[in-house]
């Protein structure tokens, strides 16, 4: 369980995170939403120890994350960052196998191989596991990286905009996979997404940030109101209900 307490992070004089405190639920998908520069990715980076906050602390399972050894916390939290570019040439399976590093320190045993097989299956990559990463399309590459994160086999997974640059088909397929994954394994996923409809459609909980401040933490269906979304994103929008689900229309309203 992640607990954020009074975390502040500033670049120069601009506060990207301003005294943020919240607790993330476990066993669910939680979406971090907000407009560009609201501090979503920064918050995730602080939780993943990529960035150091200026003040405040992050607790994981009751213990400050700085008190964990890196090798220890890598068995409990897996993080996928934004924009994965790798300048070495490796195959999908070799990339996914890196996910086992925290457990096996690079010496794979039979159990590791099985977990890699399963991760490849989850992301439907089994038939192309020997393709090189640099030959893949954007969607396939993203799936390969998510497979690596799943192979890490941690209870908590942090994903920073995994849907970046993906079309409708691929982003919905990835979200569907994550949804099924959480339903079956009861793991915790915290994900940064841009599209409010995507967040509402697939996650239980939504955390909204604006100008570095926490403005809302609520179950997904509660956020889908014109006044709430209007305030969080600074847009005019209309909520329509179709098939028992609320959708937000914000283009050309």
């Amino acid at each position: 369980m992640f607990e954020i307490k009074n975390v502040t992070k500033a670049y120069g004089t601009r506060k990207v995170l301003d005294n943020v405190s919240l607790t993330f639920p476990t066993g669910k998908i939680t979406s971090l939403v907000g407009s560009n520069g609201a501090g979503k990715s920064t918050l995730l980076s602080v939780m993943a120890r990529f960035l150091k906050q200026d003040s405040g602390s992050v607790y994981f399972e009751g213990k400050n994350i700085n008190e964990y050894k890196n090798s220890e916390i890598a068995k409990k939290v897996a993080t996928l960052r934004q924009n994965n570019t790798i300048n070495i040439r490796l195959k999908i399976r070799e990339l996914v196998a890196f996910g086992r590093f925290p457990h096996s320190r690079g010496r794979l045993n039979k159990d590791d191989e099985k977990i890699i097989d399963r991760a490849l299956e989850w992301l439907s990559l089994t038939h192309m596991q020997n393709k090189f990463i640099d030959q893949l399309s954007g969607g396939e590459r993203q799936r390969a990286f998510i497979a690596m994160i799943i192979a890490q086999d941690t209870d908590h997974i942090l994903l920073d905009e995994p849907l970046n640059n993906l079309d409708m088909k691929h982003s919905s397929a990835i979200m569907r996979t994550l949804r099924d994954f959480v339903d079956q394994t009861q793991k915790t996923i915290i994900i940064v997404v841009h599209d409010i409809n995507c967040a509402a459609g697939y996650s239980e909980e939504i955390v909204a940030l604006k100008d570095g401040k926490l403005v809302l933490q609520a179950p997904a269906n509660e956020i889908m109101q014109e006044s709430v979304i209007g305030e969080v994103f600074d847009v005019k929008c209309k909520i329509v209900e179709t098939g028992g689900r609320r959708m937000c229309v914000y283009h050309n309203v």
């Binding site: 890196n70 090798s71 890598a74 068995k75 070799e94 890196f98 590093f101 925290p102 890490q152």
Partner: protein
Amino acid sequence: MHKNEVNLANDETSPLDTSPNALEPSNAGLVEDNYKDEPPWFKRLFTRFKAFTESLQKRPKTLLILLSVFLLILLVAYLFYGLLADVFDYRATGDEFYLNILRFSLENRYPTIFAIIIVAVCVGYSTVIFQTVTGARILTPGVLGFENVYMFIQTALVFLMASQFVGVVYVLEGNANYAFSVVLMVIFSLLVFLPLLTRGSKGVFILLLVGIILSTLFASLTSYMMLLIDPNDFDIIQGRMFASFTNPNLSVMIGATVAAVLAILFTPSTRVLDVLSLGRENAIGLGINHKIVVLRILVIVSILVAVSTVLVGPIMFLGLLAANLAYQLIKNFRHKYTIPAAILVAAIFVALGQFLIYHIVTMQMQLPVIINLVGGVYFIFLLLRERKKSA
């Protein structure tokens, strides 16, 4: 998702697969027509060679063994070139004279073999791990001008001390001077490397900029001091400046070897290096203490660079040449293959060049000139290729 799978599975076979039987005969005819008259012998040789190298890339171990055998042959050839006649003459006549020639020549030549091996290990090893940390393949410690720092230290030592305290310079000979220089170089490199520690691969540009500016600064300070210095004192510097493979700095050989071996023993395992090549964030996510590991690697790199510079003087482009040729040969990202490959390529390159200089053109040229000429051309080629890639 499922549809997608089916499509992709089909993509792997040829798109012409719709009616394979109908196409096959005409295809076969075409091929036969083309090759009715025999292809020229060099073309056949080339295709066979290509198939051979491609099959080797799937077996990196075999490739490494082949490279080692080639290196061994080169080194033996270097040692015994032109001496076989003496061996036969000695056996035929039993005259001690021939034996003495043999002994004298070998004594002259074996330090070179030693130097080639140590320098190749230092340069190959340090370049590969440095490039893994920086994530940039056209960057090497040599290009950043580490050697200039070494020359600066040597010149400054003589400049500051020779005029007043002649004794100090002689105390600072050999291993003491060497240890002193290594410590200073490590401190310098850590200062330059600092941005890498905190910013990961984003720090590379700052590193490059700071490195180039500082190395130019040190180079001009060095030449300024050389101008002011007493000609007798300048002799001492010159001795250190023109250390070479033919005439390596033997007094520090043992210290150098020990330092290099210790440094290499202290590096993280090749499996950790593999993870580092995924970039800073991925490495942290996979449980690596990035800051500590990178700091360790940078200290090791600076020790290794210092060792090779002290032994044979600056060879700017050797690391770049060795590492990149090794990547191209091995086509495998694992450090357990790329590091030995880079070491072997570096050794082969130096051994070839040294053979050429010592035996063929008989010291009419200097080895760094050849290596920097070839390496420089290769560097430009790499730059052009990178630009093409990003365009």
